[in-house]
Every structure is written in C-alpha cells, then in structure tokens.
C-alpha cells in the first residue's frame, strides 16, 4: 500500500501541512474514508495500471509494451525460447492461409503476426521444403529416365544436405541482411513502420510455404507446366513479401525503396529458379536423340532416292 501511496502526488501537500502542524509526527499515510473521494478515476488495485496510465493510453503503445514485457527471461533460460513457440494450431493455419492469399493493402505482419512472431512455422516449413524438393527431384528424375536402358536409379542422398544448406541459409541470412539494411535506413529516415528481426524471419518462413506444393507439382515432366508453376508461386509469395516491406521503405528515397523491393523479389526468383534447375533434370533430355535420328533417316532416304 505504501507503493501506491508514493505515486499519489496530489497528497503530498497534505503531508507537508501535517508536518508543519506537527513536526514530531512520522509521515505514515494511513488511508482513511475521507481520502478516497480525492482519488481521480476508478480505484486502482495494483501498481501496473498506474504504469499504463503514466505511459500513455495508446493501444499500439500498450501492445508494444506487452510485447516487450513478454520476452523478459534472460536468454540462457529455456523459458526465453518458449516465448517463440507460443502459437496454437489454428494460429499457424491462419498464418499459412495468409501467406497463400495475399490481399492487396493488408500487411501480413500486422494482420497475422501481431507482435507474436513464432519460430515454429519458419523452421518446420523450411524442413518440409528441403525434403519436398529433394524427394520430388529424385522422383522426377526417376520418371524422366524410366525407359532408358543405361539409367540406374540412385537415391541421390547428397542433394538433401545441399537443399538444406541452401534453404536454411536463404531463410535466415536474407532476413538478417534485410533487417540490417532497414535498421540502417531507419537511422537516416524516420519510418512509421519498423519490423523486428524475428518478424522478418517469420514473414520469409511463411512465404516459402507456397513452394511445397509447387515442388511436388514440379514432378510433372513438362517444361511449360514447370515454368507456369514458377510464375504462380513467385507471384504469390513475392507479392506477400512486397506488400509487407513496402510500408517499411515507403518513406524513403523513391529509388532506394524501389531498389529494395526489386532486390527482395529478385532473390526470391533466384531461389526458385535455382532449385528448379539444380534438383530437377530438364525433361527434354531423352527426346533429343530421337529427334536427331529422324532427320538423318530422311537425309539418307533423300540421298538414296
């Protein structure tokens, strides 16, 4: 109770006059019934509501404060890392749905993450993507070279480690570089919107989800189908990323903002095209010998006639 009374600045005058009246008295403020009407507002039970009153009633400020108060354990305890996995099943499904259906004007971070970034989604989506790409690549190569006599099936296990390195490096190093870049630009230009490192990792992780069904559909050995899939996946995940980061760079110099967005989309394109080229063999490889043979036969037939 003494702590609550310490913050009651309007009662200071009463104590001073009481002290002036009686210098020998101790200054213990005992609450009486006469004092309660003097308190402004509803009666406060705990000191925490006092803090909120003093620091402002803005809703976004309160959520920022709560977000800051959430991760209060020191980083060497287990509870600190548990705060990054504080999501329920339906929340993860909602975030995945948000990454698949980008709505123009709606920001993925503000709409779905709401100061609760999680590491569950990025980690397990990347793990699933690694195995999806490796297994689909293996299956697609097997189906393409099925009739050839000289082909012996190999599981190509080495490609799993390569896929894992590439995808986890992309999902962690690119957000780190982007976060550093945004931090640097924020120090020069005052931006309204700024993202924490974990929120950027979260956006990148969930935006990679579209590549899982894309990788499975890449088994179809038609070049046109594969490139259409690349375009669609790039369109969806690129637009999620662009709409997330456009508010963060909008206040900046026009060229810098456009260059940032273009770089983000370009790196995303590089990842998808690179994976397609490395893990999936080109489907026209076995067609070439037959098309080379046929003109020879027509030439020989023309010569002999």
């Amino acid at each position: 109770m003494a702590a609550v009374d310490d913050l009651q600045f309007e009662e200071f005058g009463d104590v001073a006059t009481a002290l002036a009246a009686n210098p020998d008295a101790t200054t213990i403020n005992i609450e009486g019934p006469g004092e309660s009407p003097k308190r402004p507002g509803p009666p406060r039970g705990s000191g925490r509501e006092e803090d909120d009153e003093l620091l402002g009633n803005d809703d976004s400020d309160k959520t920022e404060l709560l977000a800051g108060q959430k991760k209060s354990s020191p980083f060497w305890t287990f509870e600190y890392y548990q705060t990054f996995f504080d999501v329920d099943t339906f929340q993860v499904f909602d975030r995945i749905k948000g990454s698949l259906l980008p709505i123009p004007g709606k920001n993925f971070v503000r709409l779905y993450i709401r100061s609760n970034p999680d590491l569950y989604g990025p980690f397990w989506i990347c793990a699933t993507l690694v195995f999806a790409i490796a297994i689909s690549g293996n299956l697609s190569n097997f189906l393409i070279h099925l009739g050839e006599k000289s082909y012996h099936y190999v599981p190509e296990f080495r490609k799993v480690s390569i896929a894992a390195t590439v995808i986890y490096a992309y999902a962690w190093l690119v957000p780190f570089a982007l976060w550093g870049f945004l931090l640097w630009r924020n120090s020069k230009v005052m931006n309204i919107v700024s993202y924490s490192f974990l929120e950027i990792v979260c956006v990148y992780g969930y935006s990679l989800f579209i590549y899982i069904p894309t990788a499975i559909l890449w088994i179809i050995p038609q070049k046109a189908v594969r490139w259409i899939l690349v375009m669609m996946a790039l369109g969806i995940s690129g637009s999620v990323l662009a709409m997330t980061f456009w508010p963060a760079v909008r206040e900046d110099n026009r060229r810098v903002a456009l260059a940032t967005i273009v770089t983000i989309v370009l790196l995303h394109t590089l990842l998808s095209v690179g994976c397609l080229a490395y893990f999936f063999d080109a489907p026209e490889v076995d067609h070439l010998p037959t098309t080379a043979v046929v003109p020879n036969q027509t030439v020989i037939a023309a010569k002999s006639s």
Binding site: Q82, D88, T89, Y120, W124, F131, P155, E156, F157, R158
Partner: protein
C-alpha cells in the same frame, strides 16, 4: 548410560541440577556392554537390495535389461495407452534399432561415390538429431514430457520400419520389377502408419490440447523421411 540420561531430567529432585551433572558419577564397569548392532531393520533391508544387484551374476543383469527392452518392443507392436514406456525409459532399444537401420541402409563402398544412398553416419545423424529436434519442439510448445522419455518413445517406434526394411531386403532378393516395387511400397506404407499410430498413442497425451497437431506433425515428417530412405534402398 541409562542413569546419566535419567538423573538430569528427574522431576523428583527438589533442587534444579545442571545438565549432565550426573555424568561424573558414572564409572564404566565391565558388565555394561558398549558395543552392539546399530542397524534398524528397515535400513538393513535396503542395504541387502543394494548388495544383491552388485553381487548377482552377469547373466541376471543382462537378462533383466533384455527383458525390459523386450517388454517395450511388445508395447510398440501392440500399442495401447500405458505408462510403462514412459516411466522406465531406456535408450538400449533405440540404439540397437538405429545401428541396425544404419548398417543396412548404407551404400556400398565402390561404385557410387556421390549420388548413392545415405552413408552410415548420415542415417545415424538423421535419426538422432531428428529425434532430438522433435523432442525440443514438443518441449518448447509446452509439453510436459521429459527429454529422455520422448527420445525413448521415438526410438522404440522405429521398430516397425526396421521390420519393413528387413522385409524389403528379402523381397529384393527376388526378380526386380513393378510387382516387386508394389509389394515393397505396400509394406513400407503399412509400417509407416503403424509407427505413427504407436508414437501418437504414447506422445499425444503429454501435449497441451490446442497444440497437439503442431507437436505430431514433425513426428510424421521424421518417419516419412525414414520410410523414404527404406523405400528407395537399392543394394
């Protein structure tokens, strides 16, 4: 000794005597025994147990551990909700299964250097680091299962997939062809489903109710990867 204990506390004395004042009056005579048993009956029973596991024959020790491992294998093959697998965890079974799997899945030495199947170390690392990652994931999501209990369950539930690998090895001795492949595919799918059901029966109860799917999905991915390695195994 009895006189010394009674005399300071004697209520019949009128004047209060200082503590242990009567000690000086005692002389130890020859007929008071000063040695004897100081064991309490219960303590002697515990000490008897300790010495019994130390002094028993090696065969008894090995058979006891083997019986515990065998009982857990039975629990995996016929999964019912019971706490035995969780309460008395051990990692012998997972070690034996993992080494068997890795030994049989590793590729031969000479012909395929780069693009073959997994090496022994790769299978070993996938199984153990996969199990550790799943355990950490379930603990971070708020599950109340201990680290080694979860490793124990995940390791023991690889047993159906090991059986699938042995069956595939036998089937591969026959003539290769599409029927061969379909038989292997069917066996691997059935054993994969069995592993998932067995591990879910043991692990699902320890997760918070609104995060069960989040904790079970990595188990599904783990056994799927092992099944893929078994299915694509070519000698």
């Amino acid at each position: 000794m009895a006189e010394a204990a009674e005399s300071p506390g004697d209520p019949r004395t009128t004047s209060p005597r200082p503590l242990f004042a009567g000690l000086s009056e005692i002389s130890i005579s020859q007929d008071i025994p000063v040695e004897g048993e100081i064991t309490i009956p219960m303590r002697s029973r515990i000490r008897e147990l300790d010495s019994s596991t130390l002094n028993e024959s090696v065969q008894n020790t090995i058979m006891r551990d083997l019986k515990a491992v065998g009982k857990k294998f039975m629990h995996v093959l016929y999964p019912r909700k019971s706490n035995t697998l969780l309460r008395d965890w051990d990692l012998w079974g997972p070690l034996v299964l993992c080494v068997t799997l890795a030994l049989m899945l590793q590729r031969g030495s000479a012909d395929n250097e780069n693009d073959g199947g997994p090496q022994f170390a790769e299978v070993f690392v996938i199984i153990w680091f996969g199990a550790v990652t799943i355990t950490l994931n379930s603990k971070l999501l708020g599950g109340n299962i201990s680290f080694f209990q979860s490793l124990c369950v995940l390791g023991y539930c690889i047993l159906p997939l090991t059986v699938a690998l042995l069956v595939c090895r036998l089937v591969l001795l026959a003539k290769p062809g599409p029927i061969n492949f379909i038989v292997r595919l069917f066996v691997v799918i059935v054993m994969f489903a069995w592993s998932i059901v067995a591990s879910t029966a043991f692990l699902a109860d320890s997760q918070p109710p609104n995060r069960k799917a989040l904790a079970i999905y990595p188990v599904f991915l783990f056994y799927f990867v092992i099944s893929w390695m078994i299915l694509t195994f070519t000698p």
